[in-house]
Amino acid sequence: MQWWTLFQKELIENVRNVKWIWVPLIMILIAIMDPLTNYYLPQIIEAVGGMPEGAEVQLPEYQPDDVVMMSLGQFSTIGVLTIALISMGTIAGERNSGVSELILVKPVSYMNYITAKWASLALLVLTAFALGMAASWYYINILYGDLSFGALLQVLFFYGLWLTLVISLSIFYNTLFKTPGIVAFLTLATIILMGLITTIFSHVLEWSPNYMSDYIQQMLITGSVPGELIGTAGVTIILVILLVFGSASIFKNKELAG
């Protein structure tokens, strides 16, 4: 009951501050940017004056799964940046402004407060991501060739887990710090650091969430879900749960004023 009240408030807030309009739109743009520019690259080069004499560009013929990976590539940079920016103030901002002083003196369960924030963000981001990938799928099918709907769903599920991890990290830092800028910075820094650690210790960290894209690509090429992808998905889900519960317990023991 109380959870639903908190969740509804988050939804209404994101409708009124028009996040429910622009976040899906930006995710669609992110998703279709590369498929379009790569397809029209020859014309674009010509339009800006063509190649110098003698230089010949050999453009590769992209397959549908290459193009999916292009879209995911953009999500892993601009997409993650966008998520960090839209989520950086969800709790930190409320504590910073002081609204939380009015809310948290009511008998509000900290677990409800955190999970409602988390769920509303996840709903927004994952819906936007799904719309983006649907747009990308639309272009792939008219410009590059067939990609099955089932494959799209698999991509949505597995890459959605990775984005959920990003959201959970942001929520976690939101409970630790009151300055939204610091929250965004630490979220991004953690993801970059995780990437570095994964590269350095690649032989032991086979199921690191940072491999999600690589295994998705494998899945698209082979047409079957590789075991590593299941493992990575499992690790990601566990991390998400740990982060959300960790956030709630940090919040519970934190002084919420001053």
Binding site: M1, Q2, T5, L6, K9, E13, R16, N17, S97, G98, V99, E101, L102, I103, L104, V105, K106, P107, V108, E255, L256, A257, G258
Partner: protein, 302 residues
């Protein structure tokens, strides 16, 4: 019946106490003022009571609440500078806080309607809070604090940031409220406390330096002072007055004799007797009761 009992409450930051061994208690139905200068620890005390801060040591006992039960259910809290969601309307905010406090949709609606009327915001109910004035926000703040029928209303400097009109609005609202609920409010403005509270707690440097009802404190700190006005030279009379047994000091300032006495009754009798038998050219005779400011200064200095 004792509603709240606070014992040896301390809060330290980096070993520096903000409040130090604070103890007090009060009965239900009272309006209690926590008075002290800025930085005395008023906000810290109230935040601990409302559960926003955790005390370093000490205990808070609330009558009618079981151990480990959520104290927040019993308390309605208004911070010093309440901040709302600007994008919500006053109505939406009240429903939201009511629902958070486990009221049903129906209850919350009924309660919000009633409270909006009580704090005179019915007309502004569907306007966005971002457009509210300071006084309106403060009144909405009081309404949200009362939404879940709290046993104790805790208000932190409820009128400090308001203009004279807003102050008047909020003070008269508190005057109304105190007839049917227990209120604990902090202020650094002594006249506000004087106006509406039944009991005072004087906080200074994180310690309770004095407490009691207004009348008790008045009689305790009664520094009896008299002011006498004369037609003519004051010096002769000063000598006579200072020689009286009930008088401690007597000095001249701005054409008045200022007399401090040990016992008002005795001093009055001695002075008036002398004045009538010796036919003093008295033009004025006044007894000053201690002001709250005097009382506060005395309590702090002792």
């Amino acid at each position: 019946m004792v509603l709240l009992n606070v014992e040896n409450l301390s809060k330290k930051y980096d070993r520096k106490p903000v409040i130090d061994q604070v103890s007090f208690q009060f009965d239900s139905g009272k309006c209690v003022a926590l008075i002290g200068p800025n930085g005395a620890g008023k906000t810290t005390t109230l935040r601990i009571l409302s559960g926003l801060l955790k005390p370093t040591s000490g205990s808070i006992t609330f009558t009618g609440i079981k151990q480990h039960d959520d104290i927040r259910k019993m308390i309605g809290y208004l911070p010093q500078h309440p901040v709302f969601y600007k994008w919500m309307t006053g109505w939406e905010f009240l429903i939201y806080t009511g629902r958070l406090a486990h009221l049903s949709k129906k209850e919350a609606t009924k309660r919000a309607e009633k409270l909006l009327e009580r704090v005179r915001l019915t007309e502004a109910a569907n306007r966005r809070i971002g457009k509210y004035s300071g006084g309106m926000k403060q009144r909405l703040g009081i309404a949200q604090a009362m939404i879940h029928h709290p046993t104790l209303l805790v208000l932190d400097e409820p009128v400090a940031s308001l203009d004279p009109i807003g102050r008047r609005e909020v003070l008269s609202l508190m005057e109304e409220l105190k007839t049917d609920m227990t209120i604990l409010f902090s202020t650094h403005i002594l006249s506000d406390a004087d106006e509406i509270s039944d009991e005072l707690l004087l906080l200074h440097d994180g310690r309770i330096v004095e407490s009691g009802s207004m009348d008790e404190l008045r009689s305790q700190y009664q520094t009896a002072k008299m002011e006498l006005g004369f037609d003519g030279n004051l010096d002769d009379y000063q000598k006579k007055v200072v020689a009286m047994p009930a008088v401690t000091t007597c000095y001249i300032d701005r054409n008045l004799l200022h007399v401090t006495v040990t016992d008002i009754g005795a001093a009055r009798l001695q002075i008036l007797t002398a004045a009538s038998t010796e036919q003093w050219p008295l033009t004025s005779f006044a007894i000053n009761r201690a002001s709250l400011e005097d009382m506060f200064m005395k309590a702090v200095n002792s």
